[in-house]
C-alpha cells in the first residue's frame, strides 16, 4: 500500500499546498501575529518543511527541534488553541486540494503528535 505522502501527491502536493496554507495562516487572526514579522520568502520555505513533515514526507525534525523552534516565537506564549487553529487550517487546505477525508485525519494526527513539543510541555 502506498504511503500517506505518496497518496497526497508527494512534493508536488506540498508545492500546491504551500501558497494556500500560508495565505490562510496570514489571514487568520488567531495566529497571524506569529508570522507577521518574518521574511516571507524564508517563511515560505519553512512552511514547506512543515507541510512535508505533516504529510508524512521525508524530514529530519526531532521532537527536540520542534521544541527549540517554537519556544521563543515572537507572537507570545502559545497554547492548545493555536495548535488547534493550525490543524484546522491544514485540514481546510487539504480539502481545497481534494484530499480524502481519511488522509486529512492522518495528517491531523501527525501534527497532533508533536503538540506537546510545540507547546514545550
Amino acid at each position: 500500500m502506498s504511503s500517506l505522502y505518496e497518496r497526497l501527491g508527494g512534493e508536488a502536493a506540498v508545492d500546491a499546498a504551500v501558497d494556500i496554507f500560508y495565505r490562510k495562516v496570514l489571514s487568520d487572526e488567531r495566529i497571524s501575529n506569529y508570522f507577521d514579522d518574518v521574511d516571507m520568502d524564508t517563511q515560505s520555505a519553512k512552511q514547506k518543511a512543515f507541510l512535508t513533515m505533516v504529510f508524512g514526507g521525508p524530514n529530519n525534525y526531532s521532537g527536540k527541534d520542534m521544541r527549540e523552534g517554537h519556544k521563543d516565537l515572537k507572537g507570545g506564549k502559545m497554547d492548545d488553541s493555536h495548535v488547534d487553529a493550525v490543524i484546522e487550517l491544514l485540514g481546510g487546505t487539504l480539502q481545497e486540494l481534494g484530499a480524502a477525508a481519511a488522509d486529512i485525519q492522518e495528517v491531523a494526527g501527525i501534527a497532533n503528535s508533536v503538540r506537546d513539543d510545540v507547546l514545550n510541555r
Binding site: V18, D19, Y22, R23, L26, M40, D41, S44
Partner: protein
C-alpha cells in the same frame, strides 16, 4: 559556542552570533552594508570547515563551489577557518560615460565596464567607493541594446557613497564595480503572462530594466508599471514612461504621488497598493516585481500574495540600507 580563525587569529563567537558581527566587534574593517544577505559586500572565503547553507543563499554556483559565503548570514555551529575575499578578483573598473540629474534628488549614472560584464536588467551591482565601502545599485539598462550600464542614484542626506557619486565622481573617471546579482529580472518562456511592476523612488531603476527587457523580447502579455513618489517632481522618468506607454500597446504606466494636488492621469493621489489591487485584481497567474523601500516592498508583497499571487511568481528587492535593519 564556537570559534572562527580569521587570517590565523582565533576569534570566539557567542551563541547565534554572525561571523560579520564577531569580526566587527574585534575591530576588523570588514565590508558590509545591508547586513541581511542581499548586497553581498560582506563576501568572504572559507579555507577549512563547513559553511551553513544559509550563508551561501543567493550566491552563484561558481562562487559557492569556491567556498565563498556571506559573513552577515553566517552563524556556524562548528569552527571555521576563513579569509577575506580577494577583492581584485571580484571587481572590475568601469568608466563613467554619463552623469546627469534626472529629478530633484536622483541622477543617472552610465558606466562602461573595462571587462565583459554580464547581467540581467533589474539585477544589482556593487559600487565600491574604497576597498571596504560598497553599496548596491540596480541596473536599468538592457545589455543587448545599450552599450553602457545604467544606474539611478538617489542622493541620500549624509550618504557616504551616494553623495560621493553625486558630487565627486565625474564623466571620464573610473570607478570599481562588482558583478551583478539578484533575482529580480525578466525570465523567458512565458510571453503571454501579465506582469506587474511596482516600486518607490529609485526602485524604478530595476523595474524599467525588467520592462524594457520584456518589451524588447516581444512579451505579449500586459505589463503594468506603478511608480510611487512623494511629489510630482520625484517622478523622475515620467516623460520616458509616458512615451513608452504610447509606443507599446501592452505597456501601462501609473504614477502615485503622496502630495497630489490637481494631478491628471497617469498621475494619481491613490496609494500604490490601491492601484496595484485594481490593476491586478486577480493576480494568480501574474508575475510580480516589487522594488524600493523595504516597508513598502513587504506590505505590497503581502497584499498581492493574499490576493492570490503565487509566492514563486513574486520577485522583490527591498533596498535595505545600512543601519536601517
Amino acid at each position: 559556542m564556537t570559534f572562527i580563525v580569521f587570517d590565523d587569529q582565533k576569534i570566539e563567537l557567542s551563541d547565534g552570533q554572525t561571523v560579520l558581527s564577531a569580526l566587527l566587534d574585534q575591530g576588523f574593517d570588514i565590508p558590509n552594508s545591508c547586513q541581511a544577505g542581499a548586497c553581498q559586500t560582506c563576501m568572504m572565503q572559507v579555507k577549512e570547515g563547513e559553511i551553513p547553507a544559509k550563508a551561501q543563499a543567493g550566491l552563484k554556483d561558481t562562487l559557492k563551489a569556491q567556498g565563498y559565503f556571506l559573513a552577515c548570514n553566517c552563524t556556524p555551529q562548528k569552527p571555521l577557518n576563513i579569509t577575506a575575499c580577494n577583492a581584485a578578483k571580484m571587481r572590475t573598473s568601469a568608466k563613467v560615460v554619463a552623469h546627469d540629474a534626472l529629478g530633484t534628488d536622483v541622477m543617472r549614472l552610465r558606466v562602461k565596464p573595462a571587462e565583459p560584464f554580464t547581467y540581467h536588467p533589474g539585477q544589482y551591482l556593487t559600487i565600491w567607493k574604497t576597498e571596504t565601502i560598497g553599496r548596491s545599485y540596480s541596473i536599468a539598462s538592457v545589455a543587448d541594446f545599450d552599450h553602457y550600464v545604467e544606474l539611478h542614484i538617489r542622493r541620500v542626506k549624509n550618504g557616504v557613497v551616494s553623495r560621493w557619486l553625486y558630487d565627486n565622481v565625474a564623466v571620464g573617471e573610473s570607478i570599481q564595480i562588482q558583478q551583478a546579482t539578484g533575482n529580480c529580472f525578466y525570465t523567458h518562456g512565458n510571453p503571454e503572462q501579465n506582469i506587474l511592476l511596482a516600486g518607490t523612488g529609485t526602485g524604478l531603476a530595476p523595474l524599467i530594466g525588467v520592462a524594457r527587457d520584456a518589451l524588447q523580447h516581444d512579451h505579449s502579455g500586459a505589463i503594468h508599471l506603478i511608480h510611487g513618489a512623494s511629489t510630482v517632481d520625484d517622478l523622475y522618468m515620467h516623460q520616458t514612461l509616458v512615451k513608452m506607454a504610447q509606443l507599446y500597446s501592452n505597456f501601462y504606466y501609473y504614477a502615485c504621488v503622496r502630495k497630489a494636488e490637481r494631478v491628471s492621469l497617469p498621475v494619481t493621489g491613490e496609494s500604490i497598493q490601491t492601484i496595484m489591487m485594481s490593476v491586478a485584481a486577480v493576480p494568480a497567474q501574474w508575475k510580480v516585481y516589487l522594488c524600493g523601500g523595504p516597508n513598502m516592498v513587504s506590505s505590497l508583497k503581502k497584499a498581492i500574495f493574499l490576493a492570490g499571487a503565487s509566492m514563486k511568481n513574486i520577485y522583490s528587492d527591498p533596498f535595505i540600507t545600512s543601519h536601517s535593519s
